[in-house]
Amino acid sequence: MTTLALGLIETRSLDALLADGPPSLAACAERLGWPFVPLGLGARTIGRLHLGSEFCETLLSTEAALRHALARSRDAGLGFALVTPILSDAGLSRLSSLLPLLPDGTEVVANDWGTLRRVGRMRPDLIPVAGRLLCKLIKDPRLPSSEWARLYPHGLHSGPFGAMLDRLGAARIEMDVPPFADLRDFRSTTVKVSVHAPYGFSVKGRSCRIGSLAQPPEAKFTAGQDCRRDCLIYVGGLSRPETGAADLPTFQRGNTLFYRHSDAMLETVAAAMAEGWVDRLVLTGDWNENRRTH
């Protein structure tokens, strides 16, 4: 059966979420303000906690948050993964101070090749996972048909990509569900496959629009800018009303543009789960479209 992992960037909801042991997805939805529970999985309980951002170095976990999440997940009997974004050298240094806190056999989801290499070199007893930023495939929420994605086929299950994962010790990849997903997208004969739902990302930046909110003009939209973490407060719904196009629902959170999966995409995921090709589903806990109304 497919394991369910809850992905969180912040730990402030953790104590309440795990107060009675592993929560159901319905309880997660209620606590975290999700607009819906995908795939009718509301009654299923989570088996894992994944802490950290895939998209922004500023959101790399702190030591305190990591210790907190490790303790709560251990108490609740949950598997655990530290999730990391694409990192600068400064970020790698911060990560290097986090890695000693992880028990043997803990998963680390890396989203750049250098981070994957660093984890293997520094803590070979940890389990490196290739995050979805390393799993390249076309994910444009505006595509009017599957023909567009066919023009640029992915090589996630190719020999050369598999050899790269093997070289770096990654036996698991994390994938997004692309628009017009094909069941075969999720079939790997060499690595385990985790799939993110119900949101995929299309593109991320380093310069950050919402991260510039509190900055003076000269410090906005630049590499390594200061940041007040306004992405934890605001989410931007994106639309193209002039086009009348049937885009996937699209939103920007922080430096990243996301899309919500269509019913057809989720049905493909369900079919891949039924085939046993997706052994883990990662639910985006708290850095999503958060369209809760009070």
């Binding site: 750049d112 090589g155 193209r240």
Partner: protein, 345 residues
């Protein structure tokens, strides 16, 4: 420091080298590829490519006669296995023609090409998003003799990565084309204009909400509107100030000329002019600008910076900092930045 410049037509090769380019780069989408894969996806760009092997051979010959070299882009972010095999064949043909280097955007393809052992250099494309020393080290282990830095690194980060990998060559962007996001983490298609074009130029309307479900207050909405106005201004600069040029034909837009001394001191050995699909006049003027500035590399930094900033005769545009690839190179540590004044051409 070498100037790496784009071409898309045979007749561009000789004048580009005469203008000061050391290395030319180009793409090819040959008919046998299109027939086999029904796609132009040999590289990142659907346009601005050669279609005939004869043209590629001619460009290599012209460049060699003029003292330059030719590199071939294989810089799509990902390829299917059958495409990688075809690219291996294309690489062999390119080597036989006397090509210099392959610019590769897929890490699996990079490793595969290295194993072929062809007499070609391998350059890790900016699409491989080398943002740290570990990635640069890995790319070197895989066979890359040069790493092209992505946009959006600071000069200190560049120097740190280069310093940690002293045996590695590095290349950095110097003129033209500014992605809003990170191209190495962009999984969209530059759609035709009628479908929206590049996603970062698409006319999205943004509707802000709060993650806690409360409606943003008037002060919040006002602050968000001010930020979005600045964002729109930044986008204009990022997209080459409306793709405008000076009276002398020098292009406005993303630029790192002031940073050349820091890039050189930081271990960067080559600088890249982007814009393979651009007009030849734009490419030639770009090479002229970089060559003229590089020729002053041994002069005092302030003198070089003044020269670079005077090239376009628009200190107000330079002064925003929004044209800079490396804003940390701004004279006076950024004190002169005047962003928010919304100058226009």
């Amino acid at each position: 420091m070498k100037i790496v410049a784009p071409i898309s037509r045979v007749e561009e090769a000789e004048p580009m080298i005469r203008a000061g380019a050391d290395e030319l780069y180009c793409g090819i989408v040959p008919a046998d590829w299109t027939e086999r894969f029904r796609s132009a996806g040999v590289n990142r760009r659907a346009f601005g490519n050669f279609s005939r092997y004869e043209d590629l051979a001619e460009v290599i010959r012209i460049a060699a006669d003029a003292g330059g070299t030719v590199s071939l882009v294989m810089n799509a972010q990902h390829y299917a296995e059958a495409q990688m095999e075809a690219l291996g064949d294309l690489a062999e043909r390119f080597a036989r023609l006397g090509g210099h280097a392959l610019i590769v955007g897929d890490i699996g393809l990079l490793a595969r090409l290295a194993r072929q052992g062809l007499p070609l250099r391998l350059h890790a494309s900016s699409l491989l998003a080398c943002r740290n020393s570990e990635t640069a080290g890995l790319l070197g282990e895989l066979g890359a003799s040069r790493v092209v830095f992505p946009r959006d690194l600071t000069l200190a980060e560049i120097a740190g990565i280069a310093g940690a990998n002293p045996g590695q060559e590095f290349e950095a962007f110097i003129l033209n084309d500014g992605c809003v996001f990170e191209e190495g983490n962009c999984h969209t298609i530059h759609l035709p204009g009628r479908l929206g074009g590049p996603i970062c130029l698409d006319r999205y309307v943004i509707d802000y909400g709060r993650a806690d479900g409360r409606a943003p207050g008037p002060d919040e909405l006002a602050a968000l509107a001010v930020n979005d106005a600045a964002y729109e201004e930044w986008l204009w600069y990022r997209f080459s100030c409306g793709f405008a040029v000076t009276e002398a034909g020098y292009p406005f837009g993303p630029c790192g000329l002031c940073a050349l001394p820091a890039l050189a001191a930081g271990g960067v050995g080559a600088v890249k002019i982007a814009g393979r699909e651009g007009a030849v006049e734009r490419k030639l003027k770009s090479v002229e600008m970089v060559r003229a500035t590089l020729d002053r590399l041994e002069r005092p930094i302030a003198e070089l910076t003044d020269f670079a900033r005077a090239l376009r005769h628009r200190p107000d545009l330079c002064g925003t900092g929004y044209m800079c690839y490396y804003r940390d190179a701004m004279p006076g540590g950024g004190d002169c930045i005047q962003a928010g004044k919304a100058p226009r051409i």
